[in-house]
Protein backbone atom coordinates (compact mmCIF):
# COMPACT_ATOMS: atom_id res chain seq x y z
CA UNK A 1 0.00 0.00 0.00
CA UNK A 2 1.54 3.30 -1.00
CA UNK A 3 1.64 5.60 2.01
CA UNK A 4 0.56 8.71 0.14
CA UNK A 5 -2.81 7.30 -0.82
CA UNK A 6 -3.77 5.97 2.56
CA UNK A 7 -2.62 9.27 4.02
CA UNK A 8 -4.88 11.35 1.80
CA UNK A 9 -7.81 9.04 2.51
CA UNK A 10 -7.21 9.23 6.25
CA UNK A 11 -6.75 12.97 6.10
CA UNK A 12 -10.13 13.35 4.41
CA UNK A 13 -11.79 11.15 7.00
CA UNK A 14 -10.17 12.92 9.92
CA UNK A 15 -11.21 16.28 8.47
CA UNK A 16 -14.78 15.06 8.02
CA UNK A 17 -14.96 13.79 11.59
CA UNK A 18 -13.50 17.00 12.98
CA UNK A 19 -15.89 19.18 11.04
CA UNK A 20 -18.89 17.10 12.13
CA UNK A 21 -17.82 17.25 15.79
CA UNK A 22 -17.18 20.97 15.56
CA UNK A 23 -20.49 21.79 13.94
CA UNK A 24 -22.35 19.56 16.41
CA UNK A 25 -20.81 21.60 19.23
CA UNK A 26 -21.71 24.78 17.42
CA UNK A 27 -25.30 23.59 17.15
CA UNK A 28 -25.43 22.78 20.85
CA UNK A 29 -24.11 26.24 21.73
CA UNK A 30 -26.51 27.96 19.32
CA UNK A 31 -29.46 26.09 20.83
CA UNK A 32 -28.44 26.86 24.41
CA UNK A 33 -28.02 30.50 23.47
CA UNK A 34 -31.43 30.56 21.83
CA UNK A 35 -32.98 29.14 25.05
CA UNK A 36 -31.52 32.04 27.00
CA UNK A 37 -31.87 34.97 24.63
CA UNK A 38 -35.04 36.89 23.84
CA UNK A 39 -37.19 39.73 25.16
CA UNK A 40 -36.84 37.98 28.51
CA UNK A 41 -33.13 37.39 29.04
CA UNK A 42 -32.24 34.44 31.27
CA UNK A 43 -28.85 33.50 32.68
CA UNK A 44 -27.51 30.23 31.24
CA UNK A 45 -27.65 28.57 34.64
CA UNK A 46 -31.37 29.19 34.91
CA UNK A 47 -31.91 27.70 31.45
CA UNK A 48 -30.09 24.54 32.50
CA UNK A 49 -32.11 24.47 35.72
CA UNK A 50 -35.36 24.78 33.77
CA UNK A 51 -34.37 21.83 31.61
CA UNK A 52 -33.34 19.98 34.78
CA UNK A 53 -36.75 20.60 36.36
CA UNK A 54 -38.50 19.05 33.38
CA UNK A 55 -36.20 16.08 33.45
CA UNK A 56 -36.91 15.70 37.19
CA UNK A 57 -33.29 16.37 38.16
CA UNK A 58 -33.80 19.75 39.83
CA UNK A 59 -36.25 20.84 42.49
CA UNK A 60 -39.08 22.79 40.78
CA UNK A 61 -38.84 25.51 43.42
CA UNK A 62 -35.45 26.59 42.00
CA UNK A 63 -36.99 28.20 38.91
CA UNK A 64 -39.89 30.63 38.66
CA UNK A 65 -42.88 29.22 36.84
CA UNK A 66 -42.79 32.11 34.35
CA UNK A 67 -39.19 31.38 33.37
CA UNK A 68 -39.99 27.71 33.20
CA UNK A 69 -42.88 28.35 30.84
CA UNK A 70 -40.86 30.64 28.58
CA UNK A 71 -38.01 28.19 28.26
CA UNK A 72 -39.96 24.95 28.13
CA UNK A 73 -43.09 25.97 26.27
CA UNK A 74 -41.69 28.55 23.85
CA UNK A 75 -37.98 28.53 23.33
CA UNK A 76 -37.02 24.88 23.47
CA UNK A 77 -39.63 23.64 20.99
CA UNK A 78 -38.90 26.61 18.78
CA UNK A 79 -35.16 25.89 18.71
CA UNK A 80 -35.74 22.17 18.12
CA UNK A 81 -38.14 22.89 15.28
CA UNK A 82 -35.72 25.43 13.82
CA UNK A 83 -32.87 22.95 13.97
CA UNK A 84 -34.90 20.25 12.20
CA UNK A 85 -36.20 22.66 9.57
CA UNK A 86 -32.70 23.98 8.87
CA UNK A 87 -31.19 20.51 8.67
CA UNK A 88 -34.05 19.30 6.46
CA UNK A 89 -33.73 22.19 4.00
CA UNK A 90 -29.94 21.92 3.81
CA UNK A 91 -29.95 18.15 3.27
CA UNK A 92 -32.75 18.42 0.72
CA UNK A 93 -30.71 21.10 -1.04
CA UNK A 94 -27.62 18.89 -1.10
CA UNK A 95 -29.64 15.94 -2.46
CA UNK A 96 -31.31 18.06 -5.13
CA UNK A 97 -27.95 19.44 -6.21
CA UNK A 98 -26.74 15.88 -6.61
CA UNK A 99 -29.88 14.84 -8.47
CA UNK A 100 -29.75 17.76 -10.89
CA UNK A 101 -25.96 17.72 -11.05
CA UNK A 102 -26.10 21.43 -10.44
CA UNK A 103 -24.86 23.41 -7.44
CA UNK A 104 -27.57 26.02 -8.05
CA UNK A 105 -30.39 23.62 -7.27
CA UNK A 106 -32.14 24.68 -4.07
CA UNK A 107 -35.61 23.72 -2.86
CA UNK A 108 -36.73 27.32 -3.44
CA UNK A 109 -35.10 27.63 -6.85
CA UNK A 110 -36.29 24.40 -8.44
CA UNK A 111 -39.83 25.07 -7.21
CA UNK A 112 -40.07 22.34 -4.54
CA UNK A 113 -40.71 24.75 -1.68
CA UNK A 114 -43.45 26.48 -3.65
CA UNK A 115 -44.95 23.11 -4.57
CA UNK A 116 -44.94 22.11 -0.91
CA UNK A 117 -46.47 25.46 0.09
CA UNK A 118 -49.14 24.98 -2.57
CA UNK A 119 -49.92 21.55 -1.15
CA UNK A 120 -50.20 22.95 2.38
CA UNK A 121 -52.34 25.91 1.29
CA UNK A 122 -54.60 23.64 -0.74
CA UNK A 123 -55.05 21.37 2.26
CA UNK A 124 -56.17 24.34 4.37
CA UNK A 125 -58.41 26.07 1.85
CA UNK A 126 -60.01 22.98 0.36
CA UNK A 127 -60.79 21.70 3.84
CA UNK A 128 -58.57 18.62 3.90
CA UNK A 129 -56.83 20.00 6.98
CA UNK A 130 -60.01 19.44 8.97
CA UNK A 131 -59.55 15.69 8.52
CA UNK A 132 -56.48 15.91 10.73
CA UNK A 133 -53.40 18.03 11.36
CA UNK A 134 -51.25 15.46 9.54
CA UNK A 135 -53.00 16.30 6.27
CA UNK A 136 -50.99 19.52 5.95
CA UNK A 137 -47.51 17.89 5.94
CA UNK A 138 -48.86 15.11 3.74
CA UNK A 139 -50.20 17.60 1.22
CA UNK A 140 -46.94 19.58 1.43
CA UNK A 141 -45.00 16.40 0.67
CA UNK A 142 -47.26 15.57 -2.29
CA UNK A 143 -47.01 19.11 -3.68
CA UNK A 144 -43.24 19.13 -3.28
CA UNK A 145 -42.80 15.71 -4.90
CA UNK A 146 -45.00 16.72 -7.83
CA UNK A 147 -43.06 19.96 -8.35
CA UNK A 148 -39.64 18.22 -8.29
CA UNK A 149 -40.81 15.52 -10.65
CA UNK A 150 -42.11 18.10 -13.12
CA UNK A 151 -38.96 20.21 -12.90
CA UNK A 152 -36.88 17.09 -13.33
CA UNK A 153 -38.79 15.98 -16.41
CA UNK A 154 -38.40 19.39 -18.01
CA UNK A 155 -34.81 20.18 -16.97
CA UNK A 156 -33.31 16.72 -16.88
CA UNK A 157 -29.55 16.77 -16.51
CA UNK A 158 -28.10 15.82 -19.86
CA UNK A 159 -25.86 17.01 -22.59
CA UNK A 160 -27.75 20.03 -23.85
CA UNK A 161 -29.13 21.44 -20.61
CA UNK A 162 -27.10 23.91 -18.61
CA UNK A 163 -27.98 26.11 -15.69
CA UNK A 164 -30.27 28.21 -17.82
CA UNK A 165 -32.82 25.45 -18.39
CA UNK A 166 -32.95 24.43 -14.75
CA UNK A 167 -33.34 28.00 -13.54
CA UNK A 168 -35.98 28.88 -16.13
CA UNK A 169 -38.00 25.77 -15.43
CA UNK A 170 -37.66 26.47 -11.70
CA UNK A 171 -38.92 30.02 -12.19
CA UNK A 172 -41.87 28.76 -14.24
CA UNK A 173 -42.67 26.11 -11.64
CA UNK A 174 -42.48 28.63 -8.80
CA UNK A 175 -44.64 31.10 -10.76
CA UNK A 176 -47.24 28.43 -11.48
CA UNK A 177 -47.38 27.40 -7.82
CA UNK A 178 -47.59 31.05 -6.72
CA UNK A 179 -50.46 31.65 -9.13
CA UNK A 180 -52.33 28.65 -7.75
CA UNK A 181 -51.61 29.78 -4.18
CA UNK A 182 -52.94 33.22 -5.18
CA UNK A 183 -56.11 31.66 -6.52
CA UNK A 184 -56.58 29.61 -3.35
CA UNK A 185 -56.00 32.73 -1.25
CA UNK A 186 -58.67 34.49 -3.31
CA UNK A 187 -61.29 31.84 -2.56
CA UNK A 188 -60.20 31.39 1.07
CA UNK A 189 -62.40 32.43 3.96
CA UNK A 190 -61.38 35.09 6.46
CA UNK A 191 -60.22 32.62 9.09
CA UNK A 192 -58.31 30.51 6.57
CA UNK A 193 -56.54 33.64 5.33
CA UNK A 194 -54.93 34.17 8.71
CA UNK A 195 -53.18 30.82 8.65
CA UNK A 196 -52.21 31.37 5.00
CA UNK A 197 -50.24 34.55 5.64
CA UNK A 198 -47.89 32.33 7.58
CA UNK A 199 -46.72 30.51 4.43
CA UNK A 200 -45.85 33.70 2.64
CA UNK A 201 -43.35 34.76 5.27
CA UNK A 202 -41.77 31.70 6.77
CA UNK A 203 -41.63 31.78 10.54
CA UNK A 204 -41.06 29.62 13.57
CA UNK A 205 -43.13 31.89 15.83
CA UNK A 206 -45.97 29.41 16.33
CA UNK A 207 -43.71 26.48 17.17
CA UNK A 208 -44.87 24.25 19.99
CA UNK A 209 -44.19 20.72 21.20
CA UNK A 210 -46.92 19.29 18.99
CA UNK A 211 -45.12 20.61 15.91
CA UNK A 212 -41.82 19.22 17.13
CA UNK A 213 -43.29 15.77 17.67
CA UNK A 214 -45.02 15.85 14.29
CA UNK A 215 -41.91 16.92 12.36
CA UNK A 216 -39.44 14.65 14.15
CA UNK A 217 -40.42 11.32 12.55
CA UNK A 218 -40.70 12.84 9.06
CA UNK A 219 -37.37 14.57 9.46
CA UNK A 220 -35.60 11.49 10.83
CA UNK A 221 -36.94 9.28 8.04
CA UNK A 222 -35.92 11.75 5.33
CA UNK A 223 -32.52 12.48 6.86
CA UNK A 224 -31.55 8.83 7.41
CA UNK A 225 -32.71 7.95 3.90
CA UNK A 226 -30.68 10.76 2.36
CA UNK A 227 -27.58 9.72 4.31
CA UNK A 228 -28.00 6.22 2.89
CA UNK A 229 -27.92 7.71 -0.59
CA UNK A 230 -24.46 9.27 -0.11
CA UNK A 231 -22.63 6.82 -2.37
CA UNK A 232 -25.28 6.91 -5.14
CA UNK A 233 -25.09 10.71 -5.01
CA UNK A 234 -21.30 10.52 -5.50
CA UNK A 235 -21.86 8.26 -8.51
CA UNK A 236 -24.44 10.63 -10.00
CA UNK A 237 -21.73 13.32 -10.09
CA UNK A 238 -20.26 11.37 -13.04
CA UNK A 239 -23.49 11.83 -14.96
CA UNK A 240 -26.45 9.46 -15.13
CA UNK A 241 -25.01 7.32 -17.89
CA UNK A 242 -21.71 6.69 -16.17
CA UNK A 243 -23.44 6.15 -12.83
CA UNK A 244 -25.45 3.40 -14.52
CA UNK A 245 -22.22 1.95 -15.95
CA UNK A 246 -20.90 1.71 -12.40
CA UNK A 247 -23.91 -0.35 -11.40
CA UNK A 248 -26.27 2.28 -10.02
CA UNK A 249 -29.95 1.70 -10.69
CA UNK A 250 -30.39 5.31 -11.80
CA UNK A 251 -34.19 5.42 -12.21
CA UNK A 252 -34.68 3.92 -8.75
CA UNK A 253 -32.15 6.29 -7.15
CA UNK A 254 -33.87 9.20 -8.87
CA UNK A 255 -37.26 8.21 -7.45
CA UNK A 256 -35.74 7.86 -3.98
CA UNK A 257 -34.05 11.24 -4.17
CA UNK A 258 -37.25 12.93 -5.35
CA UNK A 259 -39.31 11.26 -2.61
CA UNK A 260 -36.92 11.91 0.27
CA UNK A 261 -36.09 15.48 -0.61
CA UNK A 262 -39.81 16.18 -1.04
CA UNK A 263 -40.38 14.61 2.38
CA UNK A 264 -37.75 16.84 3.99
CA UNK A 265 -38.92 20.00 2.23
CA UNK A 266 -42.58 19.12 2.87
CA UNK A 267 -41.92 18.67 6.59
CA UNK A 268 -40.01 21.96 6.78
CA UNK A 269 -42.54 23.97 4.77
CA UNK A 270 -45.62 22.56 6.49
CA UNK A 271 -44.42 23.72 9.90
CA UNK A 272 -42.25 26.76 9.16
CA UNK A 273 -43.38 28.13 5.79
CA UNK A 274 -40.95 29.05 3.05
CA UNK A 275 -37.45 29.72 4.29
CA UNK A 276 -35.37 30.21 1.17
CA UNK A 277 -31.71 29.73 0.32
CA UNK A 278 -30.74 27.52 3.28
CA UNK A 279 -30.56 24.61 0.86
CA UNK A 280 -28.37 26.62 -1.48
CA UNK A 281 -25.88 28.27 0.86
CA UNK A 282 -25.27 25.48 3.35
CA UNK A 283 -24.28 22.59 1.01
CA UNK A 284 -21.94 24.98 -0.76
CA UNK A 285 -20.19 25.88 2.49
CA UNK A 286 -20.10 22.20 3.53
CA UNK A 287 -18.49 21.29 0.20
CA UNK A 288 -15.82 23.94 0.73
CA UNK A 289 -15.08 22.52 4.19
CA UNK A 290 -14.95 18.75 3.52
CA UNK A 291 -15.03 18.37 -0.27
CA UNK A 292 -17.84 17.09 -2.49
CA UNK A 293 -17.97 13.49 -1.19
CA UNK A 294 -21.52 13.10 0.14
CA UNK A 295 -20.51 10.81 2.99
CA UNK A 296 -19.23 13.82 4.94
CA UNK A 297 -20.86 16.64 3.03
CA UNK A 298 -24.47 15.51 3.65
CA UNK A 299 -24.34 15.18 7.46
CA UNK A 300 -22.26 18.35 7.71
CA UNK A 301 -24.88 20.18 5.62
CA UNK A 302 -27.56 18.96 8.03
CA UNK A 303 -25.72 20.24 11.11
CA UNK A 304 -24.74 23.56 9.54
CA UNK A 305 -28.28 24.10 8.23
CA UNK A 306 -29.58 23.57 11.76
CA UNK A 307 -27.03 26.06 13.16
CA UNK A 308 -27.93 28.63 10.51
CA UNK A 309 -31.69 28.53 11.11
CA UNK A 310 -31.38 28.45 14.91
CA UNK A 311 -29.04 31.45 14.89
CA UNK A 312 -31.10 33.34 12.31
CA UNK A 313 -34.32 32.70 14.22
CA UNK A 314 -32.76 33.80 17.50
CA UNK A 315 -31.62 36.99 15.79
CA UNK A 316 -35.03 37.47 14.17
CA UNK A 317 -36.81 37.50 17.51
CA UNK A 318 -34.24 39.50 19.50
CA UNK A 319 -33.04 42.28 17.20
CA UNK A 320 -36.19 44.40 17.35
CA UNK A 321 -38.17 43.50 20.49
CA UNK A 322 -40.98 43.04 21.12
CA UNK A 323 -41.86 42.55 17.45
CA UNK A 324 -40.28 39.83 15.32
CA UNK A 325 -38.51 40.12 11.99
CA UNK A 326 -39.89 37.33 9.76
CA UNK A 327 -37.31 34.58 9.40
CA UNK A 328 -37.94 34.20 5.66
CA UNK A 329 -36.96 37.83 5.20
CA UNK A 330 -33.72 37.16 7.02
CA UNK A 331 -32.73 34.10 5.03
CA UNK A 332 -33.61 35.75 1.71
CA UNK A 333 -31.53 38.85 2.38
CA UNK A 334 -28.61 36.59 3.25
CA UNK A 335 -29.15 34.03 0.50
CA UNK A 336 -30.05 36.11 -2.53
CA UNK A 337 -26.70 37.94 -2.83
CA UNK A 338 -24.93 34.62 -2.31
CA UNK A 339 -26.99 33.06 -5.08
CA UNK A 340 -26.06 35.90 -7.45
CA UNK A 341 -22.39 35.47 -6.59
CA UNK A 342 -22.65 31.74 -7.27
CA UNK A 343 -24.30 32.28 -10.66
CA UNK A 344 -21.62 34.74 -11.70
CA UNK A 345 -18.88 32.38 -10.52
CA UNK A 346 -20.39 29.54 -12.51
CA UNK A 347 -20.51 31.70 -15.58
CA UNK A 348 -16.87 32.55 -15.22
CA UNK A 349 -16.10 28.83 -15.07
CA UNK A 350 -17.95 28.43 -18.35
CA UNK A 351 -21.08 26.50 -17.31
CA UNK A 352 -23.65 28.81 -18.82
Amino acid sequence: MSPSASRSFLRRRRRGQWMLALSAMLLLLAMLASFAVGPLRLPPLEVLQAVGVKLGLVDPAAVSSRDLAVVWQLRIPRALLGAMVGAALAMAGASLQGLFGNPLADPGIVGVSQGAALGAVAAIVLGAASIGGWMIPLAAFAGGALAISLTYLLARPGRATGNATLLLVGIAMAALCSALIGFLTYIATESQLQSLVFWQLGSLASADWRDVLAVAPLFLLGAVACLHLAVPLDMLALGERQAQHLGLDVPRTRRQLVAFSALLVGAAVAFAGSIGFVGLVVPHVARMLVGPGHRWMLPLSGLLGAVLVVVADTAARTLDPPSEIPLGLFSASLGAPFFLWLVLQQRRKGHS
Binding site: P103, M235, H245, L246, G247, L248, D249, R287, P292
Partner: protein
Protein backbone atom coordinates in the same frame (compact mmCIF):
# COMPACT_ATOMS: atom_id res chain seq x y z
CA UNK B 1 -12.19 -18.94 -27.90
CA UNK B 2 -15.20 -18.01 -25.80
CA UNK B 3 -17.61 -15.40 -27.07
CA UNK B 4 -18.08 -12.67 -24.45
CA UNK B 5 -20.52 -10.43 -26.26
CA UNK B 6 -22.81 -11.06 -29.15
CA UNK B 7 -25.00 -8.77 -31.25
CA UNK B 8 -27.67 -10.52 -33.29
CA UNK B 9 -29.43 -8.71 -36.15
CA UNK B 10 -29.33 -5.44 -34.23
CA UNK B 11 -31.17 -2.49 -35.75
CA UNK B 12 -31.69 1.03 -34.39
CA UNK B 13 -33.64 3.76 -36.10
CA UNK B 14 -34.55 7.32 -35.30
CA UNK B 15 -37.64 8.39 -37.15
CA UNK B 16 -37.28 7.25 -40.73
CA UNK B 17 -33.48 7.13 -40.51
CA UNK B 18 -31.81 3.79 -39.88
CA UNK B 19 -28.79 4.30 -37.65
CA UNK B 20 -27.89 0.60 -37.43
CA UNK B 21 -29.10 -2.22 -39.65
CA UNK B 22 -28.56 -5.99 -39.61
CA UNK B 23 -25.55 -5.80 -37.34
CA UNK B 24 -24.46 -9.27 -36.28
CA UNK B 25 -21.11 -9.46 -34.50
CA UNK B 26 -19.50 -11.68 -31.90
CA UNK B 27 -16.64 -10.48 -29.72
CA UNK B 28 -14.29 -13.01 -28.19
CA UNK B 29 -12.44 -12.96 -24.91
CA UNK B 30 -8.75 -12.15 -25.29
CA UNK B 31 -9.18 -9.90 -28.31
CA UNK B 32 -9.18 -6.20 -29.12
CA UNK B 33 -11.74 -5.18 -31.74
CA UNK B 34 -11.59 -1.68 -33.19
CA UNK B 35 -14.80 -0.14 -34.51
CA UNK B 36 -13.94 2.36 -37.23
CA UNK B 37 -15.88 4.29 -39.84
CA UNK B 38 -16.70 7.80 -41.02
CA UNK B 39 -18.62 10.30 -38.87
CA UNK B 40 -22.22 9.22 -38.47
CA UNK B 41 -21.52 5.60 -39.44
CA UNK B 42 -23.10 4.41 -36.17
CA UNK B 43 -20.00 3.55 -34.11
CA UNK B 44 -21.11 5.23 -30.90
CA UNK B 45 -24.66 3.98 -31.32
CA UNK B 46 -23.35 0.45 -31.74
CA UNK B 47 -21.34 0.82 -28.55
CA UNK B 48 -24.34 2.29 -26.70
CA UNK B 49 -26.47 -0.70 -27.72
CA UNK B 50 -23.71 -3.15 -26.84
CA UNK B 51 -23.29 -1.73 -23.33
CA UNK B 52 -27.00 -1.56 -22.61
CA UNK B 53 -27.49 2.22 -22.66
CA UNK B 54 -29.71 2.13 -25.68
CA UNK B 55 -32.26 -0.61 -26.33
CA UNK B 56 -32.11 -2.05 -29.85
CA UNK B 57 -35.26 -1.60 -31.93
CA UNK B 58 -34.72 -5.08 -33.36
CA UNK B 59 -32.38 -7.95 -32.63
CA UNK B 60 -30.72 -8.67 -29.33
CA UNK B 61 -27.48 -8.33 -27.38
CA UNK B 62 -26.15 -11.31 -25.44
CA UNK B 63 -23.54 -11.05 -22.70
CA UNK B 64 -22.07 -14.47 -21.90
CA UNK B 65 -25.04 -15.90 -23.77
CA UNK B 66 -27.66 -14.11 -21.68
CA UNK B 67 -29.75 -11.18 -22.93
CA UNK B 68 -28.36 -7.86 -21.68
CA UNK B 69 -31.79 -6.71 -20.52
CA UNK B 70 -31.84 -9.51 -17.93
CA UNK B 71 -28.86 -8.12 -16.02
CA UNK B 72 -29.35 -5.89 -12.98
CA UNK B 73 -27.29 -2.68 -13.13
CA UNK B 74 -24.83 -3.86 -10.49
CA UNK B 75 -24.31 -7.33 -11.98
CA UNK B 76 -23.72 -5.72 -15.36
CA UNK B 77 -21.17 -3.32 -13.89
CA UNK B 78 -19.19 -6.28 -12.56
CA UNK B 79 -19.01 -7.68 -16.09
CA UNK B 80 -18.42 -4.68 -18.30
CA UNK B 81 -16.84 -1.24 -18.00
CA UNK B 82 -17.67 1.62 -20.35
CA UNK B 83 -15.64 4.68 -21.23
CA UNK B 84 -17.93 7.28 -22.82
CA UNK B 85 -16.81 10.27 -24.84
CA UNK B 86 -17.90 12.89 -22.30
CA UNK B 87 -15.87 13.20 -19.13
CA UNK B 88 -17.77 16.03 -17.42
CA UNK B 89 -17.97 15.62 -13.65
CA UNK B 90 -20.36 17.78 -11.68
CA UNK B 91 -18.54 18.52 -8.45
CA UNK B 92 -14.93 19.10 -7.48
CA UNK B 93 -13.94 15.50 -6.73
CA UNK B 94 -10.24 14.66 -6.79
CA UNK B 95 -8.74 12.44 -9.48
CA UNK B 96 -8.15 9.61 -7.02
CA UNK B 97 -11.72 9.80 -5.72
CA UNK B 98 -13.07 9.44 -9.25
CA UNK B 99 -10.73 6.54 -10.04
CA UNK B 100 -11.76 4.85 -6.77
CA UNK B 101 -15.40 5.01 -7.92
CA UNK B 102 -14.42 2.29 -10.37
CA UNK B 103 -14.39 -0.11 -7.41
CA UNK B 104 -18.00 0.66 -6.38
CA UNK B 105 -19.64 -2.19 -8.36
CA UNK B 106 -17.63 -4.72 -6.39
CA UNK B 107 -17.78 -5.95 -2.85
CA UNK B 108 -15.56 -3.75 -0.66
CA UNK B 109 -12.08 -5.17 -0.12
CA UNK B 110 -9.98 -2.25 1.12
CA UNK B 111 -6.55 -3.68 0.35
CA UNK B 112 -7.40 -4.98 -3.10
CA UNK B 113 -9.39 -1.84 -3.99
CA UNK B 114 -6.48 0.29 -2.95
CA UNK B 115 -3.96 -1.73 -4.96
CA UNK B 116 -6.16 -1.60 -8.07
CA UNK B 117 -6.64 2.16 -7.81
CA UNK B 118 -2.87 2.60 -7.46
CA UNK B 119 -2.24 0.37 -10.46
CA UNK B 120 -4.75 2.35 -12.54
CA UNK B 121 -3.15 5.66 -11.53
CA UNK B 122 0.27 4.26 -12.44
CA UNK B 123 -0.89 2.94 -15.81
CA UNK B 124 -2.35 6.31 -16.78
CA UNK B 125 0.54 8.34 -15.29
CA UNK B 126 -1.84 10.22 -13.03
CA UNK B 127 0.04 9.79 -9.73
CA UNK B 128 1.23 13.41 -9.81
CA UNK B 129 -2.33 14.65 -10.42
CA UNK B 130 -4.10 12.38 -7.94
CA UNK B 131 -5.25 15.15 -5.60
CA UNK B 132 -6.14 17.57 -8.42
CA UNK B 133 -9.77 18.74 -8.76
CA UNK B 134 -11.17 16.90 -11.80
CA UNK B 135 -12.97 20.03 -12.94
CA UNK B 136 -9.59 21.73 -13.42
CA UNK B 137 -8.12 19.05 -15.67
CA UNK B 138 -7.33 19.44 -19.36
CA UNK B 139 -9.35 17.38 -21.83
CA UNK B 140 -6.66 14.76 -22.13
CA UNK B 141 -6.12 14.51 -18.37
CA UNK B 142 -9.88 14.12 -17.88
CA UNK B 143 -9.94 11.33 -20.47
CA UNK B 144 -7.06 9.57 -18.71
CA UNK B 145 -8.91 9.87 -15.40
CA UNK B 146 -11.96 8.20 -16.92
CA UNK B 147 -9.78 5.51 -18.44
CA UNK B 148 -8.13 4.91 -15.06
CA UNK B 149 -11.59 4.52 -13.51
CA UNK B 150 -12.46 1.98 -16.20
CA UNK B 151 -9.23 0.09 -15.48
CA UNK B 152 -9.98 0.06 -11.75
CA UNK B 153 -13.37 -1.49 -12.49
CA UNK B 154 -11.53 -4.70 -13.52
CA UNK B 155 -14.15 -6.21 -15.77
CA UNK B 156 -13.78 -9.02 -18.31
CA UNK B 157 -15.42 -6.81 -20.95
CA UNK B 158 -14.42 -3.23 -21.77
CA UNK B 159 -16.12 -0.85 -24.17
CA UNK B 160 -14.23 2.32 -24.96
CA UNK B 161 -15.62 5.17 -27.04
CA UNK B 162 -12.70 7.06 -28.59
CA UNK B 163 -10.44 6.77 -25.54
CA UNK B 164 -7.56 8.45 -27.37
CA UNK B 165 -9.41 11.38 -28.97
CA UNK B 166 -8.03 14.05 -26.62
CA UNK B 167 -4.68 12.43 -25.88
CA UNK B 168 -1.16 13.35 -26.91
CA UNK B 169 0.95 10.91 -28.93
CA UNK B 170 2.60 9.31 -25.93
CA UNK B 171 -0.64 8.75 -24.03
CA UNK B 172 -2.45 7.46 -27.11
CA UNK B 173 0.19 4.80 -27.38
CA UNK B 174 0.23 4.07 -23.64
CA UNK B 175 -3.56 3.80 -23.49
CA UNK B 176 -3.76 1.32 -26.34
CA UNK B 177 -0.86 -0.68 -24.92
CA UNK B 178 -2.79 -1.00 -21.63
CA UNK B 179 -5.79 -2.10 -23.67
CA UNK B 180 -3.64 -4.66 -25.48
CA UNK B 181 -2.26 -5.98 -22.18
CA UNK B 182 -5.78 -6.39 -20.78
CA UNK B 183 -6.81 -8.42 -23.82
CA UNK B 184 -3.68 -10.53 -23.60
CA UNK B 185 -4.67 -11.26 -20.01
CA UNK B 186 -8.05 -12.51 -21.23
CA UNK B 187 -10.33 -9.46 -21.44
CA UNK B 188 -12.60 -8.72 -24.38
CA UNK B 189 -12.14 -5.13 -25.56
CA UNK B 190 -14.28 -3.23 -28.04
CA UNK B 191 -12.89 0.20 -28.85
CA UNK B 192 -14.17 2.94 -31.15
CA UNK B 193 -11.25 4.65 -32.88
CA UNK B 194 -10.94 7.34 -35.51
CA UNK B 195 -7.25 6.89 -36.08
CA UNK B 196 -6.91 3.93 -38.48
CA UNK B 197 -3.22 3.55 -37.69
CA UNK B 198 -3.89 3.19 -33.98
CA UNK B 199 -6.48 0.57 -34.86
CA UNK B 200 -4.05 -1.21 -37.18
CA UNK B 201 -1.27 -1.11 -34.60
CA UNK B 202 -3.16 -2.49 -31.61
CA UNK B 203 -6.33 -4.32 -32.66
CA UNK B 204 -6.64 -7.99 -33.62
CA UNK B 205 -9.69 -7.20 -35.65
CA UNK B 206 -11.23 -4.16 -37.28
CA UNK B 207 -14.94 -3.72 -37.92
CA UNK B 208 -15.54 -0.99 -40.49
CA UNK B 209 -19.00 0.57 -40.33
CA UNK B 210 -20.64 2.45 -43.16
CA UNK B 211 -24.07 4.04 -42.78
CA UNK B 212 -25.14 1.70 -40.03
CA UNK B 213 -23.97 -1.51 -41.67
CA UNK B 214 -20.84 -3.59 -41.35
CA UNK B 215 -18.85 -2.78 -44.50
CA UNK B 216 -15.79 -4.90 -43.67
CA UNK B 217 -14.75 -7.13 -40.80
CA UNK B 218 -11.42 -8.90 -40.35
CA UNK B 219 -7.75 -8.47 -39.51
CA UNK B 220 -6.30 -4.97 -39.98
CA UNK B 221 -4.54 -6.10 -43.18
CA UNK B 222 -7.78 -7.50 -44.58
CA UNK B 223 -9.94 -4.46 -43.79
CA UNK B 224 -7.54 -1.57 -44.39
CA UNK B 225 -7.22 -1.80 -48.14
CA UNK B 226 -7.05 1.13 -50.52
CA UNK B 227 -10.26 0.38 -52.47
CA UNK B 228 -12.34 -0.19 -49.32
CA UNK B 229 -11.09 2.92 -47.54
CA UNK B 230 -11.50 5.09 -50.66
CA UNK B 231 -15.07 3.94 -51.09
CA UNK B 232 -16.14 4.22 -47.44
CA UNK B 233 -14.31 7.44 -46.52
CA UNK B 234 -14.44 9.03 -50.01
CA UNK B 235 -10.86 10.07 -49.58
CA UNK B 236 -7.77 9.00 -51.51
CA UNK B 237 -5.37 6.99 -49.40
CA UNK B 238 -2.25 4.90 -49.77
CA UNK B 239 -1.84 1.81 -47.61
CA UNK B 240 1.78 0.86 -46.95
CA UNK B 241 3.66 -1.49 -44.71
CA UNK B 242 4.61 0.09 -41.36
CA UNK B 243 8.41 0.53 -41.51
CA UNK B 244 9.01 -1.09 -38.11
CA UNK B 245 5.92 -3.15 -37.32
CA UNK B 246 4.17 -5.89 -39.26
CA UNK B 247 0.97 -3.84 -39.66
CA UNK B 248 -0.54 -1.69 -42.41
CA UNK B 249 -0.06 2.07 -42.36
CA UNK B 250 -2.69 4.37 -43.89
CA UNK B 251 -1.52 7.66 -45.39
CA UNK B 252 -3.77 10.31 -46.91
CA UNK B 253 -2.95 11.51 -50.43
CA UNK B 254 -4.30 14.31 -52.63
Amino acid sequence: MTVALELQDVAVSRGARNILQDVTLAFEAGTVTALVGPNGAGKSTLLAVACGDLPADAGQVLLHGRPLAGFAARALAQERAVMPQEHGIRFAFSVEEVVAMGRLPHRVDALRDHALVEAALDATELQALRLRDVQQLSGGEAARTTFARVLAQQTPLLMLDEPTAALDLRHQERTLRSVRALADAGACVVVVLHDLNLAAGHADRIVLLEQGRVAADGTPAAVLTEPTLRRVYQQDVVVMQHPRRPVPLVVVTD
